[in-house]
């Protein structure tokens, strides 16, 4: 029982961190129509910026601020210098250009910081545990990461539903020409969306830094799952990204947690251990396939 509760928490936490990445990507992909492979690089650079400021100042708040401002400015620069010119071209061009960026940023980090993973600790105050149930201490930092994910989800929902910017973003994604004809500066709108996505990626990076390894290539590792999330959720939809992220996070974690013990009902121990691991690694893709069969445009497609 305790194990089930703990694993559900783990799944939710993994899902919410995926959401931070997916929210930005789904906006960029859904609204600008840009395939943005370098989203993972912004996540990596956010983590590096955070790790460095954390080491220098040992203040986690400053680290978050540094990561946010760095990735935001970088997002502005990438959109203004590159994406703006490529937006109207087809997806292959986006893939080539952003993949180039991935290689460039990986090279840049190798050159500037070195290839070895860098040190990043969480804030000292958040090192403890919270006793969620009898015999179930849960790391406080992971709860904070979950909290940040939830707050970001709420803020994004509010922005999309209740602000002028959100209205323009929704309108711009469906009727780009019409919105432009009404006198809205579409270029500026896209610039904001792209930089906002970059900011969220940077936030994900700095929040994850204390839990995972801050190193070159960390972005590419999570990018595939992030794409799964936005495809499952429905491209361009924040609500979809939220539901998709939780679904992917849960199925991945619960699969790894329980598949081996379930298989042990039928198989020998060592077979079940190996099979369980293999099964859980494809589970996410099975879920994606089922969702796409039932709802080909994802769980929460944006309405035309």
């Amino acid at each position: 029982m305790i194990l089930v509760v703990e694993q559900i928490l783990n799944g939710a936490q993994f899902g919410l961190t995926l959401f931070l990445l997916a929210a930005g990507l789904t906006l960029i992909f859904g609204i600008m129509g840009v395939v943005h492979l370098a989203h993972g690089s912004l996540y990596m650079l956010g983590a590096y910026a955070g790790a460095m400021v954390m080491t220098m100042t040992s203040s986690f708040l400053l680290a978050i601020l540094a990561a946010l401002s760095f990735s935001f400015i970088l997002g502005l620069a990438i959109e203004y210098l590159m994406m703006r010119r490529l937006c109207a071209r087809d997806h292959l061009v986006h893939v080539l250009a952003t993949f180039g960026l991935v290689l460039f940023f990986n090279g840049l980090v190798a050159f500037g910081v070195g290839r070895a993973p860098v040190f990043m600790n969480g804030p000292q105050e958040l090192n403890g545990f919270v006793l969620i149930m009898q015999d179930l201490p849960y790391p406080l930092y992971r709860l904070v990461v979950m909290g940040v994910g939830l707050v970001v989800a709420l803020l994004l929902w509010w922005m999309m539903a209740h602000t002028r910017l959100g209205m323009l973003i929704r309108a711009g994604s469906l009727q780009r020409e019409m919105v432009a004809a009404l006198g809205v500066n579409i270029d500026q709108l896209f610039l904001i969306v792209f930089a906002l996505g970059a900011l969220l990626a940077g936030l994900a990076g700095v929040m994850i830094g204390p839990i995972r390894s801050v190193q070159i290539g960390m972005g590419e590792q999570v990018l595939i799952l992030t794409f799964v999330v936005i495809v499952v959720g429905g491209i361009g939809s924040i609500r979809g990204a939220f539901i998709g992220a939780l679904l992917v996070g849960m199925s991945d974690t619960l699969g790894r947690a329980f598949a081996p013990s379930l298989l042990k009902l039928w198989l020998s121990h060592s077979q079940a251990d190996a099979m369980g691991s293999a099964l859980s690694s494809i589970l996410v893709y099975v879920v994606m396939a089922i969702v796409l069969i039932v709802r080909p445009r994802g769980l929460c497609p944006i309405e035309e």
């Binding site: 305790i2 190798a110 190193q215 999570v222 595939i224 790894r256 081996p260 369980g276």
Partner: protein
């Protein structure tokens, strides 16, 4: 001014036309990009340090080291080997870090009559029946790494253990190696995915299984993530952890800090091993590259020294038999101290207990604490027909 330029041009020309027939080309295929890139970088830098110390020679023979990145892809490694065999007439190769790449590179070289010396990867395929007289490993046979961790677990008196490793060949070898030596009961084996970065689910399962200790094999970034999350889960102070060298090396310790304290590891090398060669190596490495050497750097350095021993016997002509005869004597001083080649041309060496220690100014570094295994050979040597 013009005279100076002319002089320089002359010098450059002279460098170009210097007799090149006397130097032996060494092909160093290694992993420099991807998250595993720092392993290859250190191996390369250790290797080049040894070459530089001898003034561009190894074992008295002038060498030219070609380096290229295999990007951790077997096909790339194989392609580089083919290219150098063809166009550069390279005969002597080394450098590969990862076993899957080594298994693609080595056959290509051996079939072409070349020599391959591995500074890190020691897959079982080449240690037993498949051993080859032109194939040498200067680091370890993969299983031995984890056998040493099993021996340490016995020594520490652990009876019930949970084992974790990624679900790929080297991960399975790790658990096999550990179990070969470990005499207690294995409560549960958990396989993680190779691209996994969040281990909360597995850590919760370990908590539920309540073992005496855990053994885990997660090299590089995965190991860093695992150690951080292990410390955050609070289990670090309740359940001891035993690991082998790749999951507790200098870079991992530098990147997790306090989370490494209390973890028990094994290695055949450490920066504090008390011998003259090692002291000089660490000093030279730090002064040249401005960073602490890792176990991979020491392996690159030792690899170069052993190749030097072979070249001393073979000379510039690089006759395979003469090279083998001199190489197998291994008559050089290495950073890890005791070393000999077994009949399968894999190492017989000592294994030490290592662990992270925090010094007075708060810096966490690896220390060694005596031998776990002495003159340890690998489990496959008896199946090898070489003498």
């Amino acid at each position: 001014m013009r005279f100076k330029t002319l002089l320089m041009a002359g010098a450059a020309l002279a460098a170009f036309s210097a007799p090149s027939f006397a130097e032996v080309k060494i092909g160093f295929i290694t992993t420099l990009s991807t998250p595993g890139g720092y392993l290859g970088e250190d191996a390369r830098d250790g290797f080049l340090l040894a070459v530089e110390e001898e003034g561009g020679k190894l074992g008295g023979v002038p060498v030219k080291v070609l380096v290229e990145d295999d990007q951790l892809k077997p096909a790339n490694g194989k392609q580089i080997a083919e290219k150098w065999l063809e166009s550069e007439k390279v005969k002597l190769f080394t450098g590969v870090i990862f076993s899957n790449v080594a298994l693609a590179v080595a056959p290509t070289i051996l079939e072409a009559g070349g020599i391959y010396v591995s500074p890190n990867a020691g897959p079982s395929q080449y240690a037993g029946k498949g051993c080859d007289k032109n194939y040498y490993v200067t680091s370890w046979q993969n299983d031995t790494l984890h056998e040493s961790a099993g021996a340490l677990a016995n020594k520490l008196g652990y009876k019930r253990m949970v084992l974790l490793a990624p679900n790929y060949p080297a991960g399975k070898d790790a658990l096999t190696g550990f179990k070969r030596m470990f005499r207690g009961e294995v409560v549960e084996e958990m396989y993680t995915n190779l691209d996994q970065t969040d281990f909360a689910a597995e850590i919760a399962r370990v908590r539920a299984a309540k073992p005496d200790a855990v053994f885990q094999f997660h090299p590089g970034g995965q190991g860093i993530a695992f150690l951080k999350q292990w410390a955050q889960s609070g289990l670090k102070d309740q359940i001891p952890m035993v690991v082998a060298s790749p999951s507790l090396e200098q870079k991992i310790v530098a990147s997790v800090g306090d989370a490494a304290l209390g973890i028990k590891g094994t290695s055949h090398w450490n920066g504090d091993l008390d011998n003259e060669t090692n002291k000089a190596f660490v000093k030279a490495f730090v002064s040249k590259y401005h960073r602490e050497p890792t176990v991979y750097a020491s392996q690159g350095y030792d690899d170069a020294k052993l190749i030097g021993a072979g070249l001393k016997g073979a000379g510039e002509t690089l006759d395979n038999e003469a090279f083998r005869k001199a190489m197998l004597k291994a008559d050089v001083k290495l950073t890890r101290g005791s070393f000999a080649f077994n009949n399968n041309q894999h190492p017989i060496e000592d294994w030490y207990e290592i662990g992270a220690v925090k010094d007075a100014d708060g810096k966490v570094s690896l220390h060694s604490f005596g031998k776990v295994l002495e003159h340890q050979a690998d489990a496959y040597a008896s199946a090898c027909e070489l003498k």
